[in-house]
Structures are given as structure tokens and as C-alpha cells.
Symmetry: C2
Subunit: 215 residues, 2 copies
């Protein structure tokens, strides 16, 4: 990890047994492109703390709650923000999340088609940037004010940052389902595991968590 | 869990293979009573978030970071606050933690000897109460404003709350050391495990984490 840039972390990256981390048909009705099975055991309520679910505090929930810890900005791919392609239509789209996007930090959306920043009262702001991973991370790092930057996905975006050797931490969650189709997380990254120390635990929820820390 | 009272949680309760959770000789020099071996793998920096250590993000650190999540008040035994016994001496003692106690919430210290509240600028305040576990939990719950109450230890205090059936969640960390002496956590609590669903994971750090959730 270079001291010259912020730590870049990936959290709650769900992947199927056959390596898919999203479906391939993102539409307004299907934000995760038909890969809903991946998310069936994921409790998004606890991304900011285990207390946010009136439910048992499990290892799965504890690990999920790392998502928000010490994060000062996020970088996401355009597909995570919305299903549109090409020029942005004048449709008032402000993301999938309604009035309370869970991010509560600046978010940098990678796109070749700039548009105006979208801001919410809860601290979330979406900035649209046409930039390389390096440049996007530099901008996000400035916005993060000394905290870490989350690479928020989807899988294509995470893969680009892995290819550029910009990921310091990756929390992978292997879900025991077979999808058969979708977007693969690690295509073309043979040997990438050599750059990380990988800790693995299985949980009683049936998930396998891997914590990849850059060597 | 009763809706009439706050959720009571115990975190990072370290216990040796022979069942000890503290030493038995608390002095000004030995806040944990000579049970230092228990804490040799514990990273207190991450109780408020995995990012607080410039170090790998491990499962041990992730689980340790639950300590601060959604907690609005703590209850602790007198021995956790200081080594004095009997009437409080006029020694200006304000706890072990200097100017920045890590709690950042109201803390209720159980003692038969009342004294004046001690307040810090970082949100920590120590309130000294001569109360049953039930009554202390009621007071802490009011101070917690809808968040959970942490039962902060030491082990004698946690045992009292377990005896009174007031614990909703217990994060036990079994450390592979044999102490031979000290304060036992679970003495006299035969069968207590029947009241909980217990999830167990081992980590590459050599620790065994148990998450006890009230049935």
C-alpha cells in the first residue's frame, strides 16, 4: 500500500460458486440483473451496524457491517447507479435508492457521459467522472478526507481496479448457489491471489467469507 | 427479549481455555489483574472500526469492531473503573483511560459507594450507581436513547447479568492460553447455554469466537 493514496476497500462482494457476481440483464426492474439468488442471504440493514436488524447478531451480519467503517467516499460503476446506457436521458433519475441513499459520503460514478452532480440531504452526493481507475481513486481520496475509499462495484468495476493493482482489501462472500450466467468477477485475473494474504471462514449461514489483504 | 427494556450486549469477552476472564489481583499497575496473556491478541484500536489500525483487516478485527456499533450506554463493575475498594479515596481518580475514555456514551459504574459523576469532553460520563442489575439496565436504557446497552464487564458483572437473565447477546472469545487462576466467567451458571443459540467460528489468529444470541 502506497502512502501516497488512500486505502481502497471492497466489501460484501457476493460471488456464486461458478464465479458470477451479477446478472447480465440490468433493467429498471432488476437492479442486480437477475442475480437475486446471490442476495437472498444478504442483510443490507446491517451495513452500518449489527444493531440495525432486530435479529440475531451473526458472524455474517458482523462481517457485513464492515461496509461503512471508516469509509469517506465510494467509487462505483455506472451500472450500479442506473440501467441507462449512452447519453443520460432527461428522466430525473437519481439512482435506485430513493431519498436516503445508504452511502452518506461523496460517490464517484464512472461514466463516459458526464452529468451534473446529484446531492442528497443525508450526506450522499453523486459525482459523474470520466476517469481512469487511478484518477478516480485520486479524486475519491481527496473527498474522503483521510478515510478509506470503498470500491463499490459492480463486478466489472472491481475487476478493473484489481487489474490496475489498486485494491488493498477485498471482502469476498462465496454464496452456495450456481447461477450459470452473468458477470464474472475474476475473469482474466489469473494469479491475482498471489498479491494477497487470504483468510477464509465459513459460517453457519452457509456462506464462505474471504478477507483478502494486500501483501 | 422483552420490548420493555433495551437490548443488553456483551462484546469482546475474552476467556482462557480454563474459563478465566480476568486475573484476581487488580492493582494500579495491573488493570486486568495479571491476565495480560488474554489480551495479547486483542487489538483495542479497532473497537470502533476496522480502519483504525493500519494493518490487515482480519476476521478477528472485524468481530472486535462490533463493540461500538449501536451502543448508547455501558454498564461496568467497579473494578473495571479502578482498583480502589470501600469508600472512594479523595485521589482524583477518573478511570484508567486518561482524557479520552473510549466509551463516548454514559457509563454506569456499579458500586455500593456513590460519588459524583465524572464527565469528559468526548461524550463519556461515568455515573456511580448502587443498583440491582435490573435497575441499572433500566437507567442505562433511558440514557441510551433507543440504542443498545453494553454490559462492559468485568467478568463478575457479566456473570451477575447472566444470572439475572438480562443478557441478549454475548460475544465470547476463547483464547488458547491456560491461566490457572483468576476470575471465572461462568461459575455457577450450569445450563446457561440452553437459553442461547450459539454460533462458533475459529479464525486464523487462533481465536475461537462464539456469538450467543438469546433464543
Amino acid at each position: 500500500m502506497s502512502a501516497a493514496r488512500p486505502r481502497a476497500r471492497v466489501h460484501n462482494m457476493l460471488v456464486s460458486l461458478d464465479g458470477f457476481a451479477a446478472g447480465d440483464r440490468v433493467t429498471f426492474d432488476q437492479p442486480i440483473g437477475g442475480a437475486g439468488l446471490l442476495f437472498s442471504r444478504f442483510d443490507g440493514r446491517v451495513i452500518d451496524g449489527v444493531h440495525n436488524a432486530d435479529a440475531p447478531i451473526t458472524v455474517d451480519r458482523a462481517l457485513t457491517s464492515m461496509w461503512g467503517q471508516g469509509i469517506g467516499a465510494e467509487i462505483m460503476g455506472r451500472r450500479k447507479f442506473g440501467p441507462q446506457t449512452g447519453q443520460w436521458p432527461d428522466d430525473g433519475w437519481q439512482g435506485w435508492w430513493g431519498d436516503e441513499p445508504p452511502f452518506r459520503t461523496p460517490v464517484f460514478v464512472l461514466t463516459h457521459h458526464p452529468r451534473e452532480t446529484v446531492e442528497f440531504e443525508n450526506g450522499t452526493s453523486f459525482h459523474f467522472v470520466d476517469a481512469t481507475p487511478e484518477e478516480a481513486l485520486r479524486q475519491a481520496g481527496e473527498a474522503a478526507s483521510g478515510l478509506d475509499v470503498r470500491i463499490g462495484g459492480g463486478p466489472t468495476t472491481v475487476r478493473q481496479f484489481l487489474e490496475a493493482d489498486l485494491i488493498d482489501f477485498l471482502h469476498l462472500v462465496i454464496v452456495p448457489v450456481v447461477l450459470g450466467a452473468g458477470v464474472r468477477l475474476l475473469d482474466g485475473l489469473e494469479g491475482v491471489e498471489d498479491r494477497f494474504t487470504i483468510e477464509t471462514v465459513g459460517t453457519e449461514g452457509g456462506l464462505t467469507h474471504q478477507l483478502w489483504n494486500r501483501k
